[in-house]
């Protein structure tokens, strides 16, 4: 065997107009074949209405060691949530 086919990440949009979601990965020589394989592997039971295929090497991922600096700052900013605010019952739904 001369060369491994590159790895692709597969994203699928489900029936109801939601975002594309990552569903898994597969090997394929090019985008067209990746699309064919994705259809065969991930949509055999009408799981989706649209497919994206992206070469895995083209994805930049945050590293676990950055988890603190990246996500901890949000922890103290509870005022970003509606539940932070007291709305008197008399005001009704807001």
């Amino acid at each position: 065997m001369s060369k491994d086919w590159p790895l692709w990440e597969i994203f699928i949009r489900g029936q109801h107009g939601l975002n594309h979601r990552h569903v898994g990965s597969l090997h394929a020589p090019d985008a067209e074949m990746a699309m064919n394989h994705a259809r065969d592997v991930y949509t055999r039971r009408k799981e989706g209405v649209s497919i994206w295929v992206v070469k895995s090497v083209d994805i930049t991922a945050s590293s676990p060691s950055e988890k603190g600096p990246l996500f901890d700052p949000a922890e103290s900013k509870t005022y970003r949530h509606p539940t932070f605010y007291d709305i008197p019952d008399e005001v009704g739904h807001m």
Binding site: K3, L26, D30, R44, P64
Partner: protein, 334 residues
């Protein structure tokens, strides 16, 4: 269990300074967190998972062979479509699991080579032949049934990619068992000859199915560490017991008898007492001396070798196209 928990490596020596990391790692697992590919993990965890997932993936792929054997001879067009769909699902299961294993730094081609060279194993069950159509019923009902029993708890396993693969697989798996049971039902209610075939298939597949859960807990050496790491959830004997308890009433419903004189309901334990499979046979099959070991590996090797020119041709075509586009960006958006 498709890995049957064999051939584990010994615990790696603890590298200097990793003790703290290991403690933190174990704490995450105890806390029910998922371990993801880029997270730190003990080398032995990584190796054990590669072995487990690799064996599981190989089992899905090799498992296509005994059923594929009957696709062209299915009794009706509908049965043929169903069996094709089922076998195609198994190919997908192999892919999900190879992909999950690849996140740990092995390539699928490495794993394939290790299967072909005999370095890696697959489930012993697929070394038994499918002699007639009733066997296809028995395989779906019993073999997929046993697989489900093992895979359902593994959805909660600690390694994220493995857990997600299991969730996807479990969604597809129950149709496999039902179609097998449906075949058995049809035959068990058919002519006397058909009923005999169904009984014969059950006779031959019963003990090999019990073997799928791996050796008895008394002999299963490395369960402890795997359970601590939550890459094994139940013991082999627990799952085997569950399988028997679930399957015996189904056999009764079919009017077929389980080939075990010692089978008896045990009120006290709330489960059946049953005979263990012949473990000597099991170890022989694992060693390569089962009825179909050579045939299975030969079929895989032939598929791999005969497909080489095609894989290479697709690569060459992709490279040529990319060159023509001036190494253009591959487009994926809608």
């Amino acid at each position: 269990m498709y890995g049957q928990e064999l051939g584990a490596t010994q615990r790696d020596g603890i590298e200097a300074g990793t003790e703290e990391l290991e403690a933190a790692f174990q704490a995450r697992i105890d806390n029910n967190e998922r371990i993801e590919p880029k997270d730190w993990m003990p080398e032995h965890y990584r190796k054990t998972l590669i072995r487990m997932m690799g064996q599981h993936a190989h089992s899905e792929i090799v498992g296509q062979l005994p059923e594929g054997n009957w696709i062209t001879r299915a009794p009706t067009l509908e049965r043929k479509q169903i069996l094709l769909a089922k076998v195609q699902d198994e190919a997908g299961h192999g892919l999900y699991l190879y992909s999950a294993a690849e996140t740990l730094g092995v390539t699928r081609d490495d794993l394939t080579e290790q299967l072909l060279s005999g370095k890696m194993k697959y489930s012993s069950i697929f070394n038994y032949p499918t002699l007639n159509w009733a066997d296809i019923g028995a395989v779906g009902w019993l073999v997929d049934g046993a697989a489900i029993m093992n895979q359902v708890p593994l959805q909660r396993t600690s390694y994220g990619p493995y857990s997600r693969a299991m969730i996807r697989i479990c969604k597809e798996e129950s149709f496999h068992q039902r179609q097998g049971f449906d075949i058995m039902r049809k035959m068990a209610n058919g002519t006397p000859e058909q009923r005999e075939m169904a009984q014969d298939a059950l006779n031959r597949f019963w003990y090999p199915s019990l073997m799928m859960f791996g050796p008895s807990d008394k002999e299963s050496v490395h369960s402890d560490q795997s359970m601590k790491w939550r890459i094994k959830i139940n013991t082999n004997d627990e799952l085997r017991q569950k399988f028997v308890d679930q399957t015996v009433p189904q056999a009764e419903f079919l009017g077929l008898s389980v080939p075990d004189d010692k089978l008896a309901w045990n009120e006290e334990k709330g489960g059946y007492d049953f005979s263990e499979p012949d473990w000597n046979e099991f170890f022989q099959v694992i060693k390569g001396n089962g009825p179909c070991n050579e045939e299975r590996i030969e079929a895989r090797r032939k598929a791999w070798d005969d497909g080489a020119w095609f894989r290479d041709a697709l690569t060459a075509h992709a490279e040529k196209q990319a060159q023509r586009r001036g190494e253009g960006v591959l487009q994926a958006a809608e």
